[in-house]
């Protein structure tokens, strides 16, 4: 086993140079909750580990003048959870982030890591997608921005090019009359990887009619799904039983899950519909409270 170099760059440019120099053999260290497990299991064998936590941009969580947020890719869940503003604006995103593992994992777990690990079941991802978050990527060719749902390419794979890494995320300003929610199904009450995850963000008008919606499912396909038919089923409705049934059916139809040690195809499909209904109800209740 070769020894691994450890680097702690203080700027984005330094980090990009290190990643380029390693020619695909570098691994980013944010919270380490996936990286160290994979290292120990000999699933990866990097020549250099680049700890990005000394780069300011990756560690800050700022509310911008327009009400949007810029979230550093290496901010830990526990830090975000302590912020009253973002928790009030986007409880679904924070809940989803908060569900990544135990309290100890929360002390480290980052959105950047959760997304780039590209597990189909990553808890934060459906909520980020539903909220319309985008990723700010830095690389040898400069900066670019991608919607979160376009970052993952398949289990364990991202669309990031060699030398690129996510520096931060943009979370839009909370729309007035907006609400979001994230629910997941796990066999125990904590500590499990999501068997199904559902993130929903929607807006209501004063009459309680859904004016916009985004529904995202996790753990039921190779990457996170955006279920447009599910959104269509509820937009323009007041979430009557027929609309909810259509939502449920649309989610079930969109699923392409697998049978594995965590759930069966049948189970994931059915529960995707159940969670969608419940998440929509919670999001709507939150939206209505504004």
């Amino acid at each position: 086993m070769e020894s691994i170099e450890f680097q702690k760059p203080e700027t984005v440019d330094e980090a990009v140079k290190l990643l380029q120099g390693a020619d695909g053999n570098a691994k980013i260290l944010a919270g380490g909750t996936d990286l160290l497990v994979q290292l120990r299991a000999h699933m990866i064998d990097p020549s250099v580990i680049v700890d990005i936590k000394s780069i300011d941009e990756t560690r800050k969580l700022n509310k911008n003048a327009d009400g949007s947020y810029t979230i550093g890719a290496a901010v830990a869940g526990a830090e975000a959870h302590e912020r009253g503003d973002i928790t009030a604006d986007w409880p679904g995103v924070i809940e989803a982030w908060d569900l990544i593992g135990s309290t100890q994992i929360q002390g480290r777990a980052s959105l950047g890591g959760n997304l780039c690990n590209a597990s189909p079941a990553g808890d934060s991802v459906p909520a980020m997608v539903a909220a319309g978050m985008t990723a700010n990527i830095a690389g040898p060719d400069g900066r670019r921005t991608l919607p979160v749902e376009e970052v993952t390419a398949g289990p364990g794979k991202t669309n990031l090019k060699k030398g690129e890494f996510i520096v931060s995320f943009n979370l839009p300003a909370k729309p007035s009359n907006g609400g979001d929610a994230y629910l997941r199904l796990i066999p125990r009450t904590e500590m499990d990887i999501a068997v199904v995850g559902c993130g929903v963000a929607l807006t209501l008008d004063d009459s309680g009619t859904v004016t916009s919606a985004k529904v995202s499912l996790g753990a039921v396909a190779a990457t996170v799904l955006v279920v447009e038919d599910a959104a269509k089923a509820i937009i323009g409705s007041k979430l009557e039983p027929e609309a909810m049934s259509a939502l449920d059916a649309a989610c079930q139809a969109a699923c392409k899950p697998i049978d594995d040690k965590r759930g069966t195809v049948e189970y994931r499909t059915k529960v995707a519909g159940v969670l969608a209904r419940r998440a929509v109800s919670i999001a709507a209740e939150r939206a209505g409270k504004n």
Binding site: E5, L36, A76, T103, M191
Partner: protein
């Protein structure tokens, strides 16, 4: 790094986790390895005032950081109220999960000195215990919280 209040130097390879450093380099075996993958919490420590699993932190990351392990919980001969309560309430049987549970519980009570039973259980969900069924652990944490609130008056 600063470990339990003392400046501490160590040498490690990139591959070594903070847990490896504590146990193998610094001979502090109070933090335990139950799984090496962050699923059991037996290696719980505080790094820069955050509760984390030491098996998921690289030793190399801890340069310049403040680390607290179980060995730093008692103040000389004086046990921390949680440690004392655990003994009085029999909140341990084999004791292997106990250091991790104590570090985690201390972190909780420092943030929230009036947790509900549910809050205690969810906070400690990352600390696996196979012996106690968690009952006496949760009672001991809540009882210590009550004592701390009483003493704060």
């Amino acid at each position: 790094m600063t470990l339990n209040g003392e400046p501490t130097e160590f040498l490690c390879s990139t591959r070594q986790t903070l847990l490896d450093v504590l146990r193998d380099e610094l001979n502090l075996t109070g933090s335990k390895e139950g799984c090496a993958s962050g699923d059991c919490g037996a290696c719980s420590v505080m790094v820069d005032d955050r509760l984390v699993c030491a098996c998921l932190v690289l030793g190399a990351e801890c340069d310049g950081k403040t680390v607290e392990s179980i060995e730093g919980m008692a103040d000389g001969e004086n046990l921390h109220p949680l440690q004392q309560k655990f003994l009085e309430e029999a909140a341990l049987q084999c004791g292997i999960c106990t250091p991790g549970v104590l570090v985690a519980a201390k972190a909780l009570l420092e943030r929230n000195n009036n947790p509900t039973e549910t809050e205690v259980r969810y906070w400690l969900a990352g600390n696996l215990c196979r012996c106690t069924g968690y009952d006496k652990i949760v009672r001991a944490v809540m009882s210590t919280a009550a004592d701390m609130r009483e003493n704060a008056k």
